[in-house]
Point group: C2
Chain length 414, copies 2
């Protein structure tokens, strides 16, 4: 059954890969309008999921993530329209050279078939489908079982709309069954799936990484640090920590741990704690921190490297940049890490020695984001080294092809 | 035990990633000289492998691949020196922009730890180690058991040499045991290995793809086609097929199948067959081909998509470009495919519709090679879409890092 989906996706990918920017944009625009026109149908299907969710005892937070309102449907549509306006990442000339009279052009091409496994938010369906379509890739979507009716509604409305504009409906495939076997089969669909992107929590990602035989782009888990150097502007440090922790604690680029230079610890921590108190952030400090902040909770080993995704932050006092870098190497996830300092040399050392997707001097870790980085949109943030690292925009959803133009060129025998 | 190797490799990678181009080149130069100076030791160790190989009945061809002579050791040394002369792929500025006053620089960084699993040729040890070192990556090598003493000798000589120049010896690690368990453990060394590159035959690659949980760059298998269009220059077609098939039949960019347009079949096939006869190439043709070439062997279904790696070629007559593209889609490996035609429009259609790493107009598929493409060297040819496609040069052995320079920048709350 999944093989059949894979075959259809692969066949659609061949057709889609040859479509022009205009054809793809027309399809996206039609899909956006169709979502708005069919909002009542979508809400009806969503209600089935919400009912089932209530019966099975889903938390209020999960039910909220699952719920589709007029506003959220309009949000999906405008997200799709925003993707249509982005530059087409396909057909870029990446390099061009002439070798013994043979012209060699390296161009960007679609990857082919992208599988996305995600959890409960149905807007990921529309968002992933739009990004893949714009980059000339067909998508195989596999959402969480609690959102199956909502996801099918969104995908089917989009499928019908793009088909009317002349694109194959199978450019957007949704796995219609939600058993664990479906996800596992998708992870092993070699020959059909060119890349699998998990979008969700740490457990989902780790399951995908462990079980996939198709290539995976690992996304997500972020244990981000802010190191406050002895040469830091203390007010700036407090502002950055406050922003990095509290502007959206549930996301991967939020700060989970502050490392503070011993020489500046008292002043910096009092200032940081005063900020964090505004949002009742729980501070879990090491023994030295507790002496400065007696109200803090005592941190244990499990706090280093913890991804709280909540209004909780770990604090540790360190002897200097070496100890900070070492701590980040040991406990970080190579996502986003920051140094606050007025000393440019120390900053550059930190930026070189900390091997994370994004490293910041005097700026919040929260900037690691496709939109903030000027990529227009993102399908996730890669925390692996292969293929792409950091925010995955449209360009990161392409591969390359070498086109060689000869005139009877043959290779010398060696 | 492998975890220990992984830990050492990861620790060395941190140090190596910060070394300058000069330091890396000095180490490479020392390693090259050390191989030449220690050639007697290396040959003694190689003799142990050769003896064991003879006793266990290795074929003459395999014994030849395994054997290290003065000339081959000099070849390894000059290969290392050539890598030293290539541009350093680390530290390139890939893009730079200023976003609300925050400067964002995307730079190239080493991947980290690269594992290479390969078969019998000991020169792959030196070659892989040099390419990884130049690109700032530590390497974990796992060669075939029949070459273990030769590989250990080469690796240990290089390790000692680079250590003398100030680099950690552990930049080059060789798995000293050759059981299947070693290879399998390496494939699952997540957290230590950033990418695994198999170098060898189809079976090795397929085992690696099936069993690895670390990211893999799939290399190698090449079922390359030459399509001779009705508008082809027949002599050019014969020259290209002859070169693509016979200049080195054992490699992945050699041609395995010729597709010929029906309208030109008789003239083209007689001309192609006359060339191929010079090297006694066995032609396996479909029924129509046999009518034109009665001496040809009758092809069966298993000939389409076969990678002969030998002086054998499959031939099929097709109705036109659509059938040719369809055949390549169905039986090809998306490695290298060629069209011979004087019609530029048909050529462009072929180059767009055939989704292979390299597509050729009027040129031999044998050009798909890091050296020929001007990359200087290659560690393999990727046949996957992710990370890199086509020849893997030094640039393809790097990842990226975003460095952001702010001045107290915090992200607006949305």
């Amino acid at each position: 059954m999944l093989t059949e989906i894979g075959e259809k996706a692969r066949a659609a990918a061949r057709i889609l890969s040859l479509k022009s920017t205009e054809e793809k944009n027309r399809a996206l625009s039609a899909a956006a309008s169709a979502l708005e026109e069919n909002k009542d149908f979508i809400k009806t299907q969503n209600a089935i999921d919400l009912d089932a969710g209530k019966k099975s005892g889903l938390s209020e937070a999960l039910l909220d993530r699952l719920s589709l309102t007029d506003e959220r449907i309009a949000g999906m549509a405008s997200g799709i329209r925003a993707v249509a306006e982005l530059d087409d990442p396909v057909g870029r000339v990446l390099s061009e050279k002439v070798i013994n009279g043979m012209r060699l052009v390296k161009t960007s091409v679609p990857i082919g078939v992208i599988a996305v496994i995600y959890e409960s938010r149905p807007n990921v369906t529309a968002d992933s489908a739009a990004l893949c379509l714009k980059s000339g890739n067909t998508v195989i979507l596999r959402g969480g079982k609690e959102a199956i009716n909502s996801n099918l509604a969104v995908a089917n409305v989009m499928r019908a709309a793009i088909e009317k504009t002349g694109l194959p409906a199978d450019c957007i495939m949704l796995v219609p069954f939600t058993g664990r076997e479906g996800a596992e089969a998708l992870m092993k669909l070699n020959g059909y799936v060119d890349v699998l992107i998990p979008r969700g929590g740490r457990e989902l990602i780790s399951t995908v990484v462990k079980n996939s035989t198709v290539p995976v782009i690992e996304t997500g888990a972020g244990v981000c640090h802010v190191y406050v150097d002895k040469a830091a502007d203390v007010k700036m440090a407090a502002d950055i920590v406050y922003n990095a922790k509290t502007s959206r604690p549930s996301v991967c680029n939020a700060c989970e741990c502050v490392l503070v230079h011993r020489d500046i610890a008292k002043e910096a921590l009092l200032s940081i704690a005063a900020e964090l108190r505004k949002k009742n952030v729980e501070i879990r400090g090491d023994a030295e921190t507790l002496k400065i902040l007696p109200d803090a909770v005592s941190a244990d080993e499990s706090d280093w490297g913890a991804e709280y995704n909540d209004f909780i932050i770990a604090v540790k006092i360190v002897g200097g940049i070496s100890e900070a870098v070492e701590h980040i190497f040991r406990y970080g996830t190579a996502h986003s890490d920051c140094i606050v300092t007025e000393d440019a040399e120390t900053a550059e050392r930190f930026l070189n020695e900390v091997d994370s997707a994004a490293v910041y001097h005097n700026a919040s870790t929260r900037f690691t984001d496709g939109g903030e980085f000027g990529l227009g949109a993102e399908i996730g943030i890669s925390t692996q080294k292969l293929h792409a690292r950091g925010p995955l925009g449209l360009n990161e959803l392409t591969s390359v092809k070498y086109k060689a133009y000869g005139n009877g060129h043959i290779r010398a025998t060696t």
